[in-house]
């Protein structure tokens, strides 16, 4: 091998190496040194182009800009920037809107000024577990099957089932739901209590409702934001429940809701509107019909907000439940009942189910 050939070849290789090492740099400009003002602009624009509920909530996002933009300057501290953005995003009145920094998380209180309508300690002591306090003199402890807590109440030789589901984030397996519902097979009616259920995985909605029907039903429709204009939405996607599983419960059912029911729980409540044997009792849910989109700001903070709309069929139209699913029968917990160990909403549900049961006889 000639030394000159070797050096020539080596030089070509080194040049090729150096060229490819930095080849992508012009196409990967991803380190913008943004200041507070530019971060504000970035988030405002992301929301402007992607948020899905401006029209329905009657929000003029341009005027929001005019109010908040002057507050932010290039030298605004990150704490001031965060609190300003917190306040600005709060105007969307949406529980699916959050801004996350290393020192704080912005949020919207979905149950602001609404009655609590739920007392877990009371339910355990007076309804679920055996003991002197129990209203139904139950002899057996409640079952905890996966994430489902269930008990059977006997009133004048008539049985009513009760299931409490605390979070749609907790998975429900086929085994869990089928065992629970088959345990309810001899009851005359069923209460499904989803109060204080803040949502989670929508797949769990179908694990339940597909076993409450013997026929396919149109339960809700969704549209996804596709363009930058505030009313640019794609085609309606219709969602159906379809019978599933070995055991189906098609007797009268009452769903208990309160204002802390959010997101997937609101979807669940909305889906139940399509079932003639299901009655929603309690308070309007907290809403959350828009599926959220997550992202990151140039300064590293994370955000999310709704980018879809959903509604359940009501006549020829869809009722958008972003602001909550209203109950069929509105009832709040009575403070005096609560002091006496009575859950007004559960008792109302039992009364309804017993009435329907006797009417069927």
């Amino acid at each position: 091998m000639k030394r000159s050939n070797f050096i020539q070849l080596l030089s070509i290789n080194v040049i090729a190496l150096l060229l490819t090492m930095s080849c992508e740099r012009p196409f990967m400009e991803g380190n913008p040194d943004y200041d507070a003002q530019e971060n504000f602009e970035y988030l405002w624009k992301q929301v402007d182009e992607k948020y899905s509920y401006f029209d329905q909530k009657n929000i003029n996002w341009d005027s929001v800009y005019n109010v908040y933009a002057p507050i932010i300057s290039q030298s605004t501290s990150e704490y001031t920037l965060f609190s300003t953005l917190f306040e600005m995003l709060g105007l969307l009145k949406d529980g699916h809107v959050n801004l996350v920094s290393s020192f704080n998380v912005s949020r919207y209180n979905i149950s602001h000024n609404a009655p609590e309508n739920f007392n877990w300690r009371l339910i355990k002591d007076y309804y679920l577990e055996p003991g002197t306090l129990n209203h139904f003199n139950v002899q057996e402890h409640s079952y905890a099957t996966g994430s489902l807590r269930h008990q059977i109440f006997t009133i004048n030789n008539t049985s009513v089932g009760y299931i409490y589901y605390s979070s749609f984030s907790n998975p429900i397996s086929n085994y869990d739901i089928e065992l629970t519902l088959s345990r309810m097979s001899n009851t005359k009616g069923l209460i499904i209590d989803v109060r204080n259920n803040g949502g989670g995985a929508p797949s769990n909605i179908f694990q339940i409702i597909n076993r409450l029907t013997s026929e396919k039903r149109y339960i809700y429709g969704s549209r996804i934001k596709t363009g930058k204009a505030h009313n640019d939405f794609g085609e309606l996607m219709e969602v159906y429940s379809e019978p599933e599983g070995n055991y189906k419960y098609t007797k009268p059912i009452v769903i208990l809701t309160n204002r802390n029911c959010f997101s997937a729980t609101s979807f669940f409540a909305a889906a139940c509107k399509a079932f003639p044997n299901i009655t929603l009792v309690g308070d309007t849910t907290g809403g959350g019909a828009g599926a959220p989109h997550g992202g990151q700001m140039p300064n590293g903070w994370y955000y999310r907000f709704s980018v879809t709309r959903s509604g359940y069929p009501m006549g020829d139209t869809l009722y958008d439940f972003e602001n909550g699913v209203p109950p069929d029968i509105h009832i709040d917990m009575d403070i005096n009942d609560e002091l006496n160990g009575i859950d007004t909403m559960i008792d109302k549900a039992i009364e309804l189910l017993l009435t329907e049961s006797s009417a069927q006889l």
Binding site: T20, M21, M28, A201, N210, G300, R304
Partner: protein, 296 residues
């Protein structure tokens, strides 16, 4: 970067010299077919990975990646076909000091190429092969801070041209005599190689980042297969090149030290993404048979 380079050079030199003094093994190898050289390879790589996924963030994420792979190559004087697969993992961070998240990345690559010799008469000083290449590239990322957009992915398949240039040089034997330490370096061959793949027909799959699929049915279409898009270089640019130095051992096995550069850029309407990797790779190639034509 410099540290990784130094470590690889050290490992390469150490292993190369330990093999270099082996005597020739004349045992018959598997699958003997004298008209071609079949070989199996195993590889290890490390380097830098960069990602900018504008669907969820304007920030350029950057971090180190580690990987390993296997491959099979059949080399004939006039044809080369090669199939290889690799898996890697990476951790990428943004430059924002307020960023409490990071990308945990997983890379899966499957490459196939079939090349023909363009210079059968050996008129050029370099060996030149060209043909078709198919690349399946999967870049999966998780940033748990991104709520419903926590799972990011770029799944790409490309079919296009592939080019291979090589030049083999012989290093003559020489002696090293350092005071009481003496070594005889036997003659060896080294090959400089350059490969580049440039897909023309492409398919990509990107998330819409609107996690609505499971809200609108009981179908958890995890990868949103309805968003698969066939495209070409106007919407998707995807280049992979590697520059390598192969050291031919006296056992006829090979050690290859390579620098790999990979870049892709997908520009769908909703969420553009670009990614790049700079990898230093070491390949141990085990020959399965003898080859009548040793010149490469």
């Amino acid at each position: 970067m410099a540290k990784i380079l130094v470590i690889f050079i050290f490992v390469f030199i150490t292993i190369a010299h330990s093999f270099a003094q082996d005597t020739l093994n004349h045992r018959k190898r598997l699958f003997y077919r004298g008209d071609r050289q079949n070989s199996l390879s195993t590889s290890f790589c490390s380097g830098i990975q960069k990602t900018i996924d504008e669907g969820v963030s304007p920030l350029l994420y950057r971090g180190t990646t580690l990987g390993a792979g296997i491959g099979y190559q059949s080399f004939r004087k006039n044809k080369i076909w090669n199939i290889s697969g690799a898996f890697g993992t990476s951790k990428q961070f943004s430059p924002a000091i307020n960023d409490i998240g990071y990308y945990q990345g997983y890379n899966i690559d499957i490459n196939f190429k079939y090349l023909w010799n363009l210079d059968k008469q050996n008129k050029f000083p370099l060996r030149l092969y060209a043909g078709i290449g198919s690349n399946q590239t999967n870049r999966l990322r998780i940033n748990e801070q991104m709520f419903n957009a926590a799972f990011n992915y770029d799944i790409m398949w490309g079919l296009g041209g592939s080019l291979h240039l090589s030049k083999t040089l012989k290093i003559k034997a020489f002696d090293i005599n350092l005071w009481k330490w003496y070594a005889h370096y036997r003659p060896h061959k080294i090959t400089f190689e350059y490969n580049i793949d440039f897909p023309i027909i492409c398919m990509n799959l990107r998330p819409s980042y609107v996690v609505i699929e499971n809200f609108v049915g009981n179908n958890n279409t995890l990868f949103g297969s309805n968003t698969v898009k066939f495209t070409s270089i106007n919407e998707m640019l995807y280049i992979q090149s590697d520059l390598g130095l192969t050291y031919h051992l006296r056992t006829k096995n090979e050690i290859r030290f390579a620098y790999i550069w990979q870049y892709y850029n997908i520009q769908p309407e909703y969420s553009p993404v670009a990614g790049a990797m700079h990898l230093f790779q070491i390949i141990f190639r085990f020959k399965l048979n003898d080859f009548d034509n040793e010149a490469k």
